[in-house]
């Protein structure tokens, strides 16, 4: 079982669209897949048409296995489940801090699901917080969407530095990839070139900025599940393929 987090310090970089599409592609291959929508905004839950509501809120999930089992919902796709968002997740840092070993609560909570799923995707809220440290402790890899702009690259460097400081412990693999790329923009092109020159390890596959992806909210499902346009779907498939190869998933 693998745990991959869609994570970025910055918001609005394409975490959720990537999470739901990769989750769909993984389950389409027969992998038992769970998405945990950790963002109180509940965008992943929205894409799967599932109410962003968890009985007892985040506190119950970290306390009771039964609450976790009861909260998981099947999506419209066989083998793809969702642990929905809840507005109470905005207080997760506080709730985690009140528990013993506050940085390992997510790991403890997910442990019983290891036999039930082949892949767990964590759709994380932006920022760097106690919840983020929980994610770092449990994830095998951080898939970090990177809009090719100066500020985005800077946050990636901040994240890399933070994880470097954690070197004594097991840290997840950092897998940045370019997201919302607009090849017509000179800034995007030059940023990508400069990152490449600096030798920062960014995945090869990129997700372009397209109107179709923006319109995913209207369909409320992963674009890979309904759109036949190869120009839109192929990048997600290619990215998923590269992630699998990088993580040596079967």
């Amino acid at each position: 079982m693998s745990i991959v987090a869609l994570y970025s310090i910055k918001g609005g970089v394409g975490k959720t669209t990537t999470a739901v599409n990769l989750a769909f592609l993984a389950s389409a291959e027969g992998r038992r897949t769970l998405v945990w929508d950790l963002d109180p905004q509940g965008a992943a839950s929205f894409f799967f048409r599932i109410k962003p509501k968890v009985k007892g809120g985040g506190r119950a999930l970290f306390r009771h296995r039964r609450a976790l089992d009861a909260a998981i919902k099947g999506t419209d796709f066989d083998g793809l489940d969702l642990l929905p968002a809840d507005f109470s997740y905005r207080h997760l840092d506080l709730q985690l801090d009140q528990r013993k070993k506050p940085k390992r609560q997510l790991k403890r909570t997910l442990k019983p699901l290891r036999r039930e799923y082949d892949l767990i995707l964590l759709d994380c809220p932006p920022g760097i917080s106690l919840l983020s440290e929980n994610v770092f402790a449990v994830a095998d890899a951080l898939l970090v969407p990177l809009i090719p702009t100066t500020l985005s690259v800077r946050t990636l460097e901040q994240l890399a530095a933070f994880l470097d400081d954690e070197k004594a412990k097991k840290v997840p693999r950092l897998l940045p990839f370019y997201s919302m790329v607009d090849a017509r923009k000179a800034l995007h092109r030059t940023t990508m070139d400069s990152v490449s020159d600096q030798g920062l390890p960014v995945l090869n596959e990129t997700i372009p900025q397209t109107v179709k992806i923006e319109r995913m909210g209207l369909h409320r499902m992963p674009i890979t599940a309904y759109d036949g346009d190869e120009a839109v779907v192929a990048p997600y498939r290619a990215l998923w393929g590269e992630v699998k190869r990088t993580l040596s998933l079967p």
């Binding site: 099947g74 999506t75 039930e116 393929g241």
Partner: protein, 578 residues
């Protein structure tokens, strides 16, 4: 925690499209494009999965005639396109994606919640399956047997999704028409159509409502057997129908020649069942079972004495001895190669790897001996043996005494042919027991290995006799005596097998190929060390023999045999009872 599934049988009179329309008319509903699925059902030749209440299917969609080229999403409900929904039709292409071939391991008692493992190549040996949940579950079940395709279930599905007010799927409905094909024999047959109502996790209430509505509207009956079982039977398979174990139900009063023929017919069925698997070398157990059936046949021919005409017995014994001989070299190599990890373990870790060239040499010889074996099993001599033996067994029994004296055309009937089988079995078991005791008692510390080998052969004959005639005796008693005999056989087997292995190693080292540099010196040295290990093991088995035989030859065991065989006293030990 898997959501429930209910399977209903759809009566042949119900038109599937009309059924789907009726459901859609009463529910907020969406329809996925129809799907054609091919599912091959696998088990071992001796039905190990079925015996464990399991069914294994290897699924792929049948798209444009390509059975293995499954489109992305084939297994998870892609194709959300619907005339009733806003989403456009899906056309996700499989370009560049791995074929979604999926192994599903079902519990035959529960239609829901199969264990699923993606990216599985066609099942074969367990060691070839990629790591995953299905492989984990099958560990310990298959041993060295290969999974074989037993049936192919071909389904066409109408797939409906019942939706809530958000357009979210809350229940899945599959209306499925099914056919089955036997992969070996070909030919297709219809199977029952099914309606599968499947809950979506977290939406149990909607499932309960749909279940009640379906019952009220259509009064469908739940399917009475698991679909995999129905498919296996529809393909002409008999799940659980093969076992190499002896399980005869003999009538104690039945005349001995008739009972002996029943025993031989059972052995012949086992032998014939394993011919094709042996020729194709599907796994090593086919040849093993074929050889055991042959050995048992020879043993029954010689041990159930004086029930068939002596000339025919002699002829068949000779011909089955030929069969045993031509199947020997391949079996020897099988044993060698199967035991190889054990041989390596016998050596210190630093020497284990030195044996690899020997393993490669043996594997290289395999093709030749297997080809010889396949040729022998395809030969006229073998076909004629089976034909003549079947003819002999199916020929009517000679009639009971009618007063006519024997003549040239009508030779004298064998003296025990008409005796009740129980009497013959009692007498034969007593004789073999006496022989085992006599031969064992004669063995001293100075006896040559050949005497232990002879004792082992006698012991096997005793065991086979008891197994053939098991149903004639009180079950717990005969089981116990077979068990006691096996204890002695295990000791003798350990002695003999280590001797054979050591000799085989010596022969291999001295063979022409090796003398000409076929094996590197380090391998020859490792083989020498191994021979030393085997001789030690043989010595230990030899040292333990006296105590093991004393247990077998004890008064307590003799009393148990007496109790088993009835009042009459067993004959006194003699050097040769026959």
């Amino acid at each position: 925690m898997s959501p429930p599934t209910i399977e209903y049988a759809i009566p042949a009179t119900v038109e599937h499209r009309a059924l789907a329309e009726a459901i859609a008319a009463q529910h907020l509903c969406s329809e996925n494009p129809p799907l054609r699925l091919s599912r091959r059902i696998y088990d071992t030749f001796d039905w190990r999965l079925f015996a464990a209440d399991l069914g294994l299917e290897w699924a792929s969609t049948v798209a444009s005639g390509a059975a293995t080229d499954a489109p992305v999403g084939a297994f998870n409900g892609i194709g959300m396109g619907s005339s009733r929904q806003t989403a456009p039709p899906a056309s996700a292409s499989p370009q560049g994606s791995a074929p979604a071939q999926l192994l599903c391991l079902h519990s035959l008692r529960d239609p829901a919640a199969p264990i699923r493992q993606p990216f599985a190549p066609e099942p074969g040996f367990l060691s070839e399956l990629p790591n995953g949940v299905v492989r984990e579950r099958l560990e310990g079940l298959l041993d060295i047997r290969r999974l074989l395709p037993m049936a192919e279930l071909i389904s066409t599905q109408i797939r409906l999704r019942l939706l809530n007010e958000d357009g979210k799927t809350v229940v899945s409905v599959v209306i499925e028409s099914n056919r089955v094909r036997c992969p070996a024999a070909g030919g297709e047959a219809d199977l029952s159509a099914r309606l599968r109502l499947k809950a979506v996790r977290g939406y149990r209430h909607a499932f309960a409502l749909a279940e009640r509505w379906l019952q009220e509207q259509f009064a469908l009956e739940p399917a009475d057997q698991h679909q995999l079982l129905e498919a296996l039977r529809g393909a002409g398979q008999h799940p659980g129908g093969y076992s190499s174990k002896l399980d005869y139900r003999l009538d104690p009063g039945e005349r001995a020649d008739s009972a002996a023929k029943a025993i031989h017919r059972g052995l012949l069925r086992t032998l014939e069942a394993n011919i094709e698997g042996t020729r194709a070398n599907l796994d090593s157990e086919f040849l093993h079972d074929l050889r055991v059936a042959t050995r048992r046949t020879r043993s029954a021919l010689s041990q159930i004495k004086d029930v068939f005409p002596a000339e025919e017995v002699a002829d068949f014994k000779e011909r089955f001895a030929w069969l045993q001989q031509v199947t020997g070299p391949t079996r020897d190599l099988d044993v060698y190669l199967l035991d190889f990890p054990e041989l390596e373990r016998r050596l210190p870790p630093s020497l284990g790897a030195d044996l690899k060239p020997l393993q490669e040499l043996l594997a290289g010889q395999y093709e030749t001996v297997q080809a010889d074996l396949a040729r022998a099993l395809g030969s006229r001599r073998f076909r004629e043996l089976l034909r003549d033996w079947r003819g002999f067994l199916d020929a009517p029994l000679p009639s009971a005494p009618g007063g006519q004296p024997p003549s040239e055309d009508r030779p004298a009937r064998p003296k025990r042919a008409l005796q009740p089988i129980k009497r013959v079995a009692d007498q034969r078991i007593r004789k073999m027991l006496a022989r085992v005791r006599a031969e064992g008692s004669a063995i001293t510390d100075a006896s040559p290995p050949e005497e232990l080998h002879e004792l082992r052969k006698s012991c096997k004959k005793l065991r086979y006799l008891m197994e053939f005639c098991q149903s004639l005796y009180e079950p717990a008693r005969i089981r116990e005596q077979i068990k006691q005999t096996k204890v002695l056989l295990d000791n003798l087997g350990r002695f003999q097998d280590t001797a054979v292995q050591a000799q085989h190693l010596r022969d291999t080292a001295e063979s022409a190929g090796c003398l000409e540099g076929g094996l590197p010196p380090v391998t020859l040295l490792a083989m020498g060390a191994l021979i030393g290990q085997l001789i030690d093991e043989q010595r230990r088995a030899r040292a333990a023999f006296s105590a093991v035989f004393d247990g077998f030859n004890s008064d307590a065991n003799a009393a148990r045999f007496d109790a088993l065989l009835g009042e009459s006293k067993a004959p006194q030990p003699s050097a040769k009872a026959d």
